[in-house]
Amino acid sequence: MDTATLGIWSAAIMTLFLYSYIFVDNPFFKFAEHAYIGVAAAYGMVLQIDNMIRPTIKTKLLVQGQWILIIPIILGLMIYTRYFKSINYIARYTVAFMVGVGAGVVLARDFRASFMLQVADTMRSVTGPGGVENLIVMVGVVTTLTYFFFTLEQKGFVGVTAKIGRWTMMIALGAAFGNTVMARVSLFLGRVQFLLGDWLGIL
């Protein structure tokens, strides 16, 4: 048996083991689950080493002499102080840096893409070709926003608007659900084609 055949057999068996969970949790699933997590967790680490750590040390530090990168390396290493009780507070510096950049990214990026552009694109003429659709989108957006008022009582006008907003959201959510079915069936068909085609050679 060559490696490719061995591989396809392993993959097929893993596939069947994993599917067995949908009937009941069982030792076969447990095996596949543990094997998969083991490989995935370690492979994630290998990718970090290959793509970030090795090139940084080999090229950026030793060849290009970007010694400033020592700072993030130390910042990253600080997280391991969590295993030493007396200095474990230092691990928070790593977290603080990552949360800081994260919050910065949210503040710098999200507002334009998901507020400004979305609001701007809602402002369209409600007459002429496509006018009715533009009106529907506009009303849908405005009423949905009303649903999210937290400190206004949802009574009277606000209440009615919020209710329409909820209906709009229900259409949106239902449509998104229905639209996803096809993609999920496609994934399964891909697996069936693997099992029946690549493995058993029936297809």
Partner: protein, 256 residues
């Protein structure tokens, strides 16, 4: 001076931020804060944890699979803090699973501190805060295992979820857990709505910290968010009227 295409974003975002800060300082001074409307998913949280306590079975918490650059992950930490304190108070086991190793180190700290704060640091079990794998579906397979084997009574999922949302939620539903989930990832909301007992939709996730803590400062913040939405509604209406009259300048301005 200002980067191209960012001028108006900066003006609008700065105005919104200043509004938020004003509301925070107002509520700090002790000015009256309004009541917040009911969010049934959050209201059910205590009861759901209580159920786990009664049954003597664990609560599972997932902060989603986003990293720190996703505001939903940041919002999830406050909810985890609350859930962990409740669990510590009632001596209920809490299993927290993670996909991102650094997020894992944060959630472990949060849960640990919550147990300390409730004077139960001895019942904190380090093995119950777990990193699974940074691969989305390896993480999902691990959660499937936990749902089936640990007899999870209450499943709380708050944060940024992608395709694994329904895997978690169905596995939870099958194992009979009471489930409360929240995400702002629009494509996944329908699955939480369909498969969970309570679902927080979009911004409700971000309102959770104010709602759970009843902290006037955070509620003040929420008022600021409401002003932001009112502003959004008003400007959409104005822009639409202008566009209908053939003037697209407001829309063009915001895209700039």
């Amino acid at each position: 001076m200002i980067a191209p295409n960012q001028t108006w974003t900066l003006i609008f975002e700065a105005a919104f931020s200043i509004g938020l800060i004003i509301m925070i300082t107002r509520s700090r001074k002790g000015l009256k804060v309004p009541a917040i409307r009911k969010v049934s998913g959050l209201e059910a949280l205590d009861e759901a944890i209580g159920r786990a306590t009664e049954l003597g079975q664990p609560v599972h918490y997932s902060p989603g699979i986003g990293d720190f650059q996703n505001s939903q992950t940041l919002a999830s930490f406050a909810i985890l803090g609350y859930v962990a304190r409740m669990c510590a108070k009632y001596d209920t086991r809490l299993i927290t699973t993670n996909r991102n190793p650094v997020v894992y180190s944060v959630t472990e700290e949060i849960v640990h501190q919550a147990f300390v704060a409730e004077g139960r640091s001895d019942s904190f079990v380090a093995d119950d805060v777990r990193f699974m794998s940074d691969d989305q579906f390896a993480y999902a397979s691990g959660v499937l295992g936990i749902m089936a084997r640990e007899h999870v009574a209450t499943n709380v999922m708050m944060g940024a979820f992608w395709a694994e949302s329904l895997i978690f939620a169905e596995a939870g539903a099958i194992s009979g857990a009471i489930q409360i989930a929240g995400t702002a990832n629009t494509h996944q909301i329908p699955f939480f709505v369909a498969a969970c007992d309570y679902a927080l939709i979009g911004e409700e996730l971000y309102a959770a910290s104010a709602y759970l803590s009843k902290d006037p400062v955070l509620i003040g913040n929420l008022v600021g968010q409401d002003f932001g939405k009112i502003f959004g509604v008003v400007i959409i209406l104005i822009g639409t009227i202008m566009a209908t009259m053939g003037n697209n300048s407001l829309s063009a301005l915001m895209k700039k």
